[in-house]
Assembly symmetry: C2
Homo-oligomer: 190 residues x 2
DNA sequence: TACGTAACCAAGCAAGCGCTAGTGTAAATG
DNA sequence: CATTTACACTAGCGCTTGCTTGGTTACGTA
């Protein structure tokens, strides 16, 4: 039978899977391609994962867990005022987005390939993360740092941030922190 | 043989294909599913399109052409100042995004499934559209309406706008124009 | 030495895939 | 009337897919 715990081997396989899912898309990535990238035969893959779906779920769970813990750490380490928290959250978002770029691209663009059970489970994680954003944005609004409808403002900010995975080049001259600062500057009232 | 011109039948089939591509994703949509949705048998589909790839290209071309003509019309019909043009462009973007929502969702999220030839051809269309945005944003920057790096500002704005297809509900209380106005208000310096 | 277990492999099945070949038919065209 | 055109059909080829089966290897523990 197969092992479904968090073995170190499984974690490495998940990382490789994320890379292939980004390169080819989930549907076009075959179990044979995954196995070859992992240096094993396709049959052996099912010792580590129940089925192809479970690999996708593992990739997304990994990325989302990292996002959560990075955001939590960033908020705890920063001064307790609205502006600092907004900055910290934007920086943390881009930091995790590019530290685990593959996993997050999969989470953002292949989410709908999850079966209902996995989707329900992972939605809770995602909601926990978004709740942190809502909190920070409400603080910024009450502090008069930014203006507008809280729902729309948060969607616009997350949209602008998430879309960076489509154009940001980590080998360019800008750091993720540069992006975060520029975005916050753009939306802050002066 | 098959017909590859712009017959009215083909246009309707393209619309149906866009809907299925959004529902299932391009890779999971089979020619048999497409045919059934169109009320014909799978073999008959190849009378209208050379292959499955060509259906995808047709969907994306249709959407991008519409975006271009709507944006052009909007800019010609609006006062010739930076603020009005910025508003008009944002409104036009969301207008076309939700008028041809299926086609645009496919263009945004299934672009990479295009083969190199089709991708090269359609890239020109898309570049023409983005050039209009760059123009409008540079005007807004010189007019002191917004501040920041032109490259980053335009990416953030387009990201925030494009991401709306992931959460906007046309049956809600907000119109696309509301969204456009709120976004422009959010980024304008006061 | 004997045993348990994690990791792997070769082979292949059943289902589904994109696409082709060849044909039928009703309406438009000369 | 004869011919062409547009559109649809049936049947199925050749291939790939996710996954299973039944067994082997490597190695730590007693």
């Amino acid at each position: 039978m197969n092992v479904m715990n968090a073995s170190p081997r499984r974690k490495e396989l998940t990382r490789l899977a994320a890379q292939l899912f980004v390169q080819e898309g989930f549907d076009r990535t075959t179990v044979r391609m995954l196995a070859q990238e992992m240096g094993i035969k396709s049959g052996s893959l099912f010792h580590h994962f129940k089925d192809k779906q479970e690999i996708l779920a593992a990739v997304i769970e990994e990325g989302t867990q990292n996002a959560l813990s990075i955001a939590k750490a960033a908020l705890q380490a920063c001064p307790n005022n609205a502006e600092a928290r907004l900055h910290a959250m934007a920086r943390a978002h881009l930091e995790t987005l590019f530290a685990d770029r593959n996993a997050h691209v999969v989470a953002l663009f292949e989410w709908r390939r999850l079966d209902p059970a996995a989707s329900a489970h992972l939605s809770h994680l995602r909601d926990a993360y978004e709740a942190m954003w809502v909190d920070v944005i409400e603080d910024a609004l009450s502090a008069g740092l930014i203006h507008g409808d809280r729902f729309l403002v948060s969607r616009f900010i997350l949209g602008a941030l998430n879309w960076t995975v489509r154009w940001y080049d980590p080998n360019g001259s800008r750091t993720p922190d540069d992006l975060a600062d520029e975005l916050v500057a753009m939306i802050m009232s002066r």
